[in-house]
Symmetry: D2
Subunit: 165 residues, 4 copies
């Protein structure tokens, strides 16, 4: 059962521009991460955008929804910035045409390119949750999986938690 991976950027894919000494987006690292993870699940990658999720507009979010709606796969993993991940999850849950699919959003607090990353861990986690969870929209962060309507990012700690906890 193939898995569609939709890439939107986020901390996951930030890297360091050594000439200008700042953080930038270039190519996605997700393909390389799957290779290093020795992933042999069947995945189809598509990069939709490569942005900080704080810069994600309604039109961008609609593009994510459209991609989920139109793809053939019923298992979808989305890499996403953590700041507005929950907002995109809500947009997906409210959109028509995604009901029968399992959609899992994940991200990272540390860019993969900066070494001691949580990205590899989260990617392995999200890819596993998406294979076994029933249809619905979920956020997979910190080794846990949350329903789209019971999750928030704690801005002080950077940790995702259930609203109901």
């Amino acid at each position: 059962m193939p898995i569609r991976i939709l890439i939107t950027g986020g901390t996951f894919d930030k890297q360091y521009d050594e000439i200008h000494a700042r953080l930038v987006f270039r190519e996605s690292h997700v393909g390389e991460m799957l290779r290093l993870g020795r992933c042999h699940a069947e995945v189809h990658l598509r990069t939709i955008m490569m942005i900080d999720s704080l810069d994600m507009t309604d039109a961008d979010r609609e593009a994510v929804v459209q991609n989920c709606r139109q793809c053939d796969e019923t298992k979808i993993l989305i890499t996403h910035g953590t700041d507005t991940m929950v907002e995109t999850a809500r947009a997906l849950a409210g959109a028509g045409g995604v009901e029968g699919k399992t959609v899992v959003l994940t991200g990272a607090m540390i860019p993969y390119a900066f070494g001691s990353s949580d990205g590899m861990f989260n990617l392995g986690s999200a890819l596993s949750f998406v294979q076994v969870l029933p249809p619905g929209v979920y956020v997979a962060m910190n080794g846990r999986c949350f329903a789209w309507n019971d999750v928030r990012k704690n801005r002080q700690t950077g940790v995702f938690e259930a609203v109901s906890e």
Copy 2:
């Protein structure tokens, strides 16, 4: 729902002894890996042994079974060398007293201490599968999850595959 993590060693935990220029086991890296992965799932770690799985005896394997049988948790993740992981999975499936529990074995091809590891990816993967799969014994490797009686390690490629494929 707390998860029991049983550590047995394996490539996961191998490190380099710079004085004697050889691979050795010392302390487990699993706790540090969970910290770097920003894991906030509730886990209870126990190191049972710290060995290469090629050196695992019947008595060692029985110790693994005993730990699964006696622990309070019904979700169990075992870090294990890849060479005899399937054999230990079989021992667990055949043992009495583990039936109601979800047991997931995982490992790595590259030691965590050597950098570009598949260990972080596999740990995130196994920790996620164990949370959602029904009772049974599984092997989680290469981004996939296999039933204990439908998996083998391909010795040429180092990749786990379904026997039925």
Copy 3:
């Protein structure tokens, strides 16, 4: 013959603030880098400031000069941001009281904390040049050593080159 290491910050010591998703300075990594490099040269570390060299004021630069003037050691290594390293070298060369000492400035294009760094290489290089070069002020970058008055940073490539080349 002990070596004084004066730390001023620069890319060398930048790290990633995962809560605010930006580059920051905290503690210096130079001590840890020397430990990982298995350095057994006798060194005395002092952190003077922890800033981006673009933010270095005349007063900051004077503080660097004062530290070089007053320390007992005649071998001095300065870690420094690359953007104004040459300017600080010039200030040192023009200041009274540093004439009898060998001063080597070095830096990095990639923060040590981001992995595939040039910092370890440059630190090993600068620490070696400072031990054997005669009194004077030098810039050690890119595996080369330049006199303070024959060096510039190429802004397009990020590489240091001799003005006379």
Copy 4:
């Protein structure tokens, strides 16, 4: 002034064979290390052999001497296993035809491929010492440089020290 780099293997270049779970030699990492170090010194690389220095025979050692004797460059850096580095230095010092050249041997305690390596530090160090030291045979390890006839490896600590200390 170009620098000849002669590669003989050693811990520097060991890597992990994930299929057979053992340490092996394949291609040298020295070129990649120079690239990551942003080295712009002019260097000419030649791989003579790719072995553990404990396995180095008299014929191997003679091949190293021959390469030093015959190359055009007067600045020579040799990457070498640490266990018999001092022995090769002695062979070089005793050989005719190398007198007018500066030869620096260096190595590593941790393979470059295993991450937190001393290799980058030592490579930067040796490359710098070789540029400024007068003709002679030296060992550059641990941020220090030793004359060939006043150095030994401490087997307990793995640290190089002067015999005269």
